[in-house]
């Protein structure tokens, strides 16, 4: 049963046509889903009232994965099959993941993106993330009482093309329609900007479980403009846990920790860290596999000293972002804290000290990203008037081409506002050269080897000319999600070629298609069956209601022609109801509805007439 919510004036949806939209914060450590109902954004909770879903997936022998808290609890005793912080591996090769060797996973180094061997087979990070998204999707559908129209999913501002594409693929695999990928700090700004109607230039400092983002945003007359972003996609609360972990190993004289021991100690380290946010001391007690007992006490002061270096590491990108934006400290009107790790006292103090002002913390730092994403989703599906606000986003890393000698020629500079299209001209360097190879890279460095390779393609069929005579225009286009397409065009001959950059993270289209196939053969059958059931019920109800209306008022309010037309539409629907085609049933029901629209309006007017002449309403339809 659909429960109703209050719509904006004039924006009430037709029955069964509600545009259910959610915002999803797919975090390294925790994931959340939020929505806007009756005008306010709220995080959706599970049956036990928990909003945060730990981003942990455990693959069981029976193939059915366990997600969230249940999986997190099994991390210690089933470390190989229990995958946490998978976001770090999205769109990444093994060599790109710092500290990968410290994890208990059995990696399979596939070209571009790592895979992990589990009980249930070799899994890509895209598949693991999809499991998390599926849980949030069904939580949302249960909470909203219907299928989702779409979702806005957030990504760290510093995510490159491969990481964004991987996130989109995960959503697709989870059966979600992605309305848009949104930078996490931008989502936070949306939540703050709308809630407080602030104006000015803001700095969003987001220290989560696995990533650090810094963004500088300008809010003006309800318009958000991202003026600079920077960060470190491998720095977060996990590193604070590891610091404590190393301290425990050292202080406790742990010679050799088994996989199980290290998981246990890591989770104790995290607990201690969170305790130190509100207390001056944390006790750490554990029994190792070897039987050795540990009983240590960690003072907040010690913890702060141990991790001061990590906090310092966040200030470098912060300075760079300010410099990119051409702003001084005085130009910043407010600093917003986002991410669970900004609860730590010494982080807050360091940020306040750096900016010489107290940061804003009135929204819950764990939830603010999901709330902002929900507001954006609500806007994108049309539940909110669009002219209220507009959102500008920027490209996080420069995009360029390889030129002679392995150098990079930048075409789209970092921090360009999205969507963006830029073109540059190149030429041939040999007499009679008929093809040119185009290598698209992303990054800030000068040498191709130091940047990330996104795609290679060739422009062939250039007519032979002397070196330097061909004029090859290479155009880059980045859409609102930060995804890239590149085309090349030889101007004198008109030869051209184009490519949508599917980042070379190793999941080819074939593979994505196969994964989708696998999950859809089941999902699609289920969905078809469900759609058929729903359409049959709706169709039957419609037939009955129409018949009842015809019996009551058909002769009085309809002409013969009208009655025949309605009768025909009813017959068509009746026949289709016995078939299997839910789309056809829907179509027939829609056309019956159209055929009776006039009739319904006349009946409504007639019944008002009768009501006004003193008859009781319930006597009308005898």
């Amino acid at each position: 049963m659909a429960l109703l919510h209050i719509a904006e004036p004039g924006l009430c949806a037709d029955p069964h046509q509600h545009r259910l939209a959610v915002g999803i914060d797919l975090g390294t450590t925790n994931s959340l889903v939020a929505t806007v109902r009756s005008g306010s954004a709220a995080v959706l909770e599970d049956e036990s009232g928990r909003a945060l879903l730990p981003s942990v997936v455990r693959y069981r022998q029976n193939g059915i994965p366990e997600v969230g808290l249940a999986a997190q609890l099994r991390q210690t005793d089933d470390p190989h099959n229990t995958i946490a912080s998978v976001k770090r591996f999205m769109g990444r090769g093994l060599k790109d993941v710092p500290g990968a060797s410290a994890t208990p996973y059995r990696f399979v180094d596939a070209p571009g993106m790592v895979r992990i061997e589990t009980h249930a087979g070799v899994k890509s990070p895209v598949e693991v993330s999809a499991e998390i998204l599926k849980v949030l999707r069904s939580r949302a559908e249960a909470s909203l009482g219907g299928e989702l129209t779409g979702a806005v999913i957030t990504v760290p501002a510093y995510f490159d093309d491969a990481q964004r594409q991987a996130t989109k693929d995960a959503a697709r695999l989870a059966g979600l329609n992605v309305l848009r990928l949104l930078n996490e700090p931008t989502a936070a700004a949306i939540a703050y900007g709308l809630d407080t109607a602030s104006q000015g230039t803001f700095c969003i400092y987001d220290l989560g479980g696995g990533t650090f983002d810094i963004s500088i945003l300008r809010l003006r007359q309800g318009i958000f403009e991202v003026v600079a972003t920077n960060g470190d996609s491998a720095l977060g609360g996990d590193d604070f846990d590891e610091c404590i972990y190393r301290w425990i190993v050292e202080q406790g004289g742990v010679a050799e920790a088994s996989v199980t021991d290290s998981r246990l100690l890591l989770s104790l380290a995290r607990k201690a860290k969170e305790t130190l946010t509100g207390h001056d001391e944390a006790r750490i007690r554990a029994t190792l596999a070897s039987g050795v007992e540990l009983d240590l006490s960690l003072a907040a002061e010690t913890f702060f000293a141990l991790t001061a270096g990590l906090i310092a590491k966040t200030l470098g990108p912060t300075r760079k972002a300010l410099r990119d934006a051409g702003l001084g400290m005085d130009d910043i009107d407010g600093v917003v804290l986002v991410g669970g790790s900004t609860r730590m006292r010494h982080v807050r103090a360091a940020v306040a000290d750096f900016f010489k002002r107290e940061p804003l913390t009135n929204l819950d730092p764990d939830k603010v990203v999901a709330l902002g994403a929900a507001m954006q989703a609500n806007l994108l599906v049309g539940n909110h008037k669009t002219d209220d606000w507009l959102l500008l986003d920027v490209i996080p890393l420069s995009l360029g081409l390889e030129t002679m000698g392995g150098l990079v020629e930048k075409v789209v500079p970092r921090n360009a506002t999205l969507p963006v299209a830029r073109a540059q001209e190149f030429t041939t360097f040999k007499d009679g050269q008929t093809a040119i190879s185009i290598h698209v890279v992303q990054g800030e460095r000068e040498l191709v080897g130091d940047c990330r390779s996104l795609a290679r393609f060739e422009l062939r069929g250039i007519p032979p000319m002397v070196a330097g005579a061909a004029r090859i225009r290479v155009a880059f286009q980045v859409d609102a999600d930060g995804l890239l397409s590149v085309s090349a065009h030889e101007q004198t001959s008109g030869v051209q070629t184009a490519i949508e950059v599917k980042p070379s993270y190793g999941l080819g289209d074939d593979e994505i298609a196969r994964m989708l196939q696998d999950s859809f053969t089941h999902a699609k059958n289920d969905m078809d069956a469900r759609n058929l059931r729903e359409q049959r019920v709706d169709g039957l109800r419609l037939l009955e209601a129409t018949q009842a209306a015809l019996d009551a008022d058909g002769l009085r309010l309809l002409s013969d022609t009208e009655r025949i037309a309605i009768g025909r539409a009813m017959d068509t629907l009746q026949v289709l109801l016995n078939g299997q085609d839910h789309v056809a049933i829907k179509r027939a029901a829609d056309s019956l509805n159209r055929a009776t629209a006039q009739f319904a309006a006349r009946r409504m007017d007639a019944s008002i007439q009768r009501a006004l002449t003193g008859r009781r309403l319930d006597a009308i339809e005898a």
């Binding site: 429960l3 109703l4 919510h5 719509a7 309403l617």
Partner: protein, 107 residues
């Protein structure tokens, strides 16, 4: 007869109005949707209309147009929770049969 809000519904509406930061009340309405019957509408109100009939329930103003009122006389709007799902529900004494979806009905 009047249109009323349950206390729970009124509290919710007031909260949503506060969070929204503007609006003079809540508009209830009915519109036709082919022969699947009629459907309820529920909207915030920024501007009242000349024909509007107003009711006040637990301090919340409820506006309704006269045409819709014929179908909603005696209705109580409630706020309910069903499993994970929560939202508003019309308890309309005029309804003969509703579609079970809670959104459309016949009189």
């Amino acid at each position: 007869m009047a249109i009323t809000l349950s206390e729970r519904a009124a509290n919710r509406v007031q909260k949503f109005l506060d969070q929204r930061g503007k609006g003079v009340g809540l508009r209830l309405g009915v519109r036709t949707s082919g022969c699947s019957g009629m459907a309820y509408t529920l909207e915030f109100v920024d501007e009242t209309l000349p024909d509007d009939i107003a009711f006040v329930s637990y301090g919340v103003t409820v506006l309704i147009d006269p045409k819709s009122l014929t179908f909603l006389e005696g209705t109580e709007l409630d706020f309910v929770r069903e499993g994970l799902n929560e939202g508003f529900k019309f308890n309309n004494p005029n309804v003969k049969n509703s579609c079970g979806c809670g959104e459309s009905f016949n009189v």
